[in-house]
């Protein structure tokens, strides 16, 4: 059961987890990314590449489902304007095996960071700036290529 969503609406964490739990697996892992204040951020704006983003996330979810025995994979990414405390992204993986659920969750968020066409713009009062990518994100995504879990 693959559930991929890109939406301007707030992310319903409880609902998404309940759907994953209902898939019948004994183990459900999740990761939530939240807008941080980070020294005065007043707004975070998420831009994306419509159509292509959906396909990139769908491909990632399918790759996870092929790599681990998962009964549910959920990726929900918010776009548009957010404020500190809002959820930006939610990844959920459900499996009969806890290690599979946790590893798939790590895989999905690591790879999403480098492979899905999203861009963040931070506003601090009157100043807006595009967030620079981090080398550590490339390294985190890379570890899923070189190792076999």
């Amino acid at each position: 059961m693959i559930d991929v969503r890109i939406q301007p609406e707030p992310i319903d964490l409880a609902g998404a987890l309940a759907r994953a739990e209902a898939s019948g697996a004994g183990a459900v892992a999740s990761f939530t990314g939240i807008v941080r204040d980070d020294g005065g951020v007043t707004e975070l704006f998420l831009e994306h590449y419509p159509g292509v983003t959906e396909r990139a996330l769908g491909d990632l979810a399918a790759e996870a489902a092929g790599r681990w025995p998962l009964s549910a994979v959920t990726v929900i990414h918010r776009v548009g304007a957010m404020v500190p405390g809002d959820r930006i992204v939610l990844v959920v993986a459900a499996s009969a095996h806890r290690q599979a659920a946790i590893e798939a969750t790590a895989f999905l968020i690591d790879r999403l960071k480098t492979e899905a066409p999203f861009w963040k713009r931070e506003r601090r009062g009157e100043t807006a700036s595009w967030v620079e990518p981090r080398a550590s994100d490339d390294a985190a995504a890379e570890r899923w290529r070189s190792s076999h879990t």
Binding site: H48, V52, H77, L112, P117, W130
Partner: protein
Amino acid sequence: MRVLYFAWVRERIGRDEDRLDPPPAVTTVAGLLDWMGRDDPVRAGAFADRTRLRAAADGRFVPLDAPIAGVSEIAIFPPVTGG
């Protein structure tokens, strides 16, 4: 050919996309960027530092030296920062 812009590339050029018909001599993404900047200082400025640019051809990430033959949509953008 549609050329889409995202994030600061879009802001700097001042629009979402251009529709272009590059000559046959333009064969790669990098060549397209050179050609697009030739008579357009704003685009030339946005495309000046190639280390800060990434590209997609028909929705697939490609390196800047990728061929553009048969591609109908090129996207130019900074490295992604989602999640």
